[in-house]
């Protein structure tokens, strides 16, 4: 009995010790690259032969106080970048895929209106990944929740599991209207990818964020939440933000301010 206890004591690594070890490794890795160049900076514009790294966690902050009524520039930009047919132009609007949508909410008591875009929240613990029977729904190392269309069978379990209604099924053949950078097709579920093609190119931003900034609203901030010096980390430190359905404990990659 006493021997057993001794063994278990040895096996336990205290959180402090673990933190120290990971910090030490991170520093060592940062130093080996070049003095002054930290690991996270390299990870942003990573070389094309390098896999996505968990040193980065991509995230977005939505400032609902700046999100303008009637503006849907983010939605338009998403459609253009990813080759989606706008819902209004679709032959079947009720089943048209949407990766990002604008919500206008009103408090029934105070009549206060809130505007916000809703899209895949890129959970750290994604329910869509839990329920996928083929492993097509997956989380990439850098926090993006994606669908591998090569294994997706279109069962739509993930659409049921998603608390944010973020996923769509492509019901109809797209007849070669896809963008070369964004393959998508009939019978597969899809959702916001945080513009993975742009991230892998090293742009470090998404089409919706670019559009929001270009329109002067600046309601969206995108970046690496693991990098304490990134704009998004600074904003998140500064402003009170909420996760939608925080009660589900999913640790979201999209945080809202002013809701």
């Amino acid at each position: 009995m006493s021997e057993q206890n001794k063994n278990s004591d040895n096996a336990v690594v205290s959180p402090e010790r673990r933190r120290f070890i990971s910090a030490a490794t991170a520093t060592a890795a940062g130093l080996t690259i070049a003095p002054g160049v930290m690991l996270y900076e390299v990870a942003h514009g990573r070389p094309e032969e390098q896999a996505a790294s968990s040193a980065v966690r991509w995230g977005m902050m939505v400032d609902a106080t700046k999100c303008a009524t009637g503006c849907d520039d983010c939605v338009t930009a998403c459609n253009t970048e990813n080759g989606l047919t706008p819902v209004a132009e679709s032959a079947h609007p009720r089943q048209a895929p949407q990766w990002i949508r604008k919500l206008e909410l009103q408090d029934p008591l105070t009549q206060m209106e809130t505007n916000l875009p809703m899209m895949c929240q890129h959970c750290a613990e994604p329910p869509c990944v839990d329920v996928c029977p083929t492993g097509a729904s997956f989380k990439r190392a850098d926090g993006l929740v994606l669908v591998n269309r090569h294994t997706c069978i279109g069962c739509r379990y993930c659409m049921m599991a998603c608390p944010y209604k973020a996923r769509s099924l492509v019901h109809e053949s797209l007849n070669d209207t896809q963008k070369p950078d964004v393959p998508r097709g009939i019978g597969c579920v899809e959702s916001c990818t945080f513009c993975v093609q742009k991230i892998d190119r090293g742009d470090g931003t998404t089409a919706c964020v670019e559009a929001c900034t270009a329109s002067g609203h600046n309601a969206l901030v995108f970046g690496d939440m693991n990098d304490p010096e990134s704009e998004i980390s600074k904003k998140l430190r500064e402003l009170p933000t909420k996760q939608v359905r925080a009660d589900l404990n999913l640790n979201l990659g999209v945080r809202y301010h002013g809701i």
């Binding site: 094309e48 032969e49 390098q50 896999a51 996505a52 990439r140 070669d176 070369p180 393959p183 998508r184």
Partner: protein
């Protein structure tokens, strides 16, 4: 009787194999007589594929299969073995696509071999931008750049423009 049948079978196998090899090995265009052969058009850009032609004819599917998982799951987007780069080089000048008409690069062989091709249910069959205005980069103009690197001579602007043509 059984022996004769076996001999006949063996002969059949030999004839079929020879025919298959002859087809795979020949660069010849369709012949006037006999079964219609697939039209194999030379790539618009570049002079040499990422691997020898023989290897690619037999193994392109495996190579693409391995690359797609790396790209989708790990985010590795190297140009070699990327379907996008195949399309960049092999899109037909006429249709601007690898799979729009029956003589286009991918369709031509696949319909001959009667193998269904699923790539283009999701992937675009056309390169980014128009075929006449290919963005020129080291990864898509394979051979010229390899040669240039080997000989260590500078490539003139005219040379670079020539690759696009």
């Amino acid at each position: 009787m059984a022996v004769k049948l076996k001999q006949l079978l063996a002969l059949g196998v030999v004839v079929l194999t020879t025919a298959a090899l002859a087809w795979a090995g020949s660069d010849a265009q369709p012949k006037a007589k006999g079964a219609p052969q697939p039209v194999i058009t030379k790539a618009v850009k570049g002079e040499q594929c990422v691997e020898p032609t023989e290897f690619m004819r037999r193994n392109h599917m495996d190579v693409l299969d391995g690359h797609r998982d790396k790209t989708v799951i790990e985010g590795i987007r190297t140009k070699k073995y990327s379907l996008k780069e195949c399309i960049n080089c092999h899109a037909s000048e006429k249709t601007g696509s690898v799979a729009a008409a029956k003589d286009d690069f991918c369709i031509s062989c696949h319909s001959y071999a009667s193998v269904k091709i699923d790539c283009f249910e999701c992937h675009s069959t056309k390169p980014k931008g128009s075929i006449a205005m290919h963005p020129l980069n080291a990864e898509t103009a394979h051979l010229k750049h390899k040669l240039a690197a080997n000989t260590r001579t500078t490539v003139s602007a005219e040379d670079m423009a020539g690759v696009a043509k």
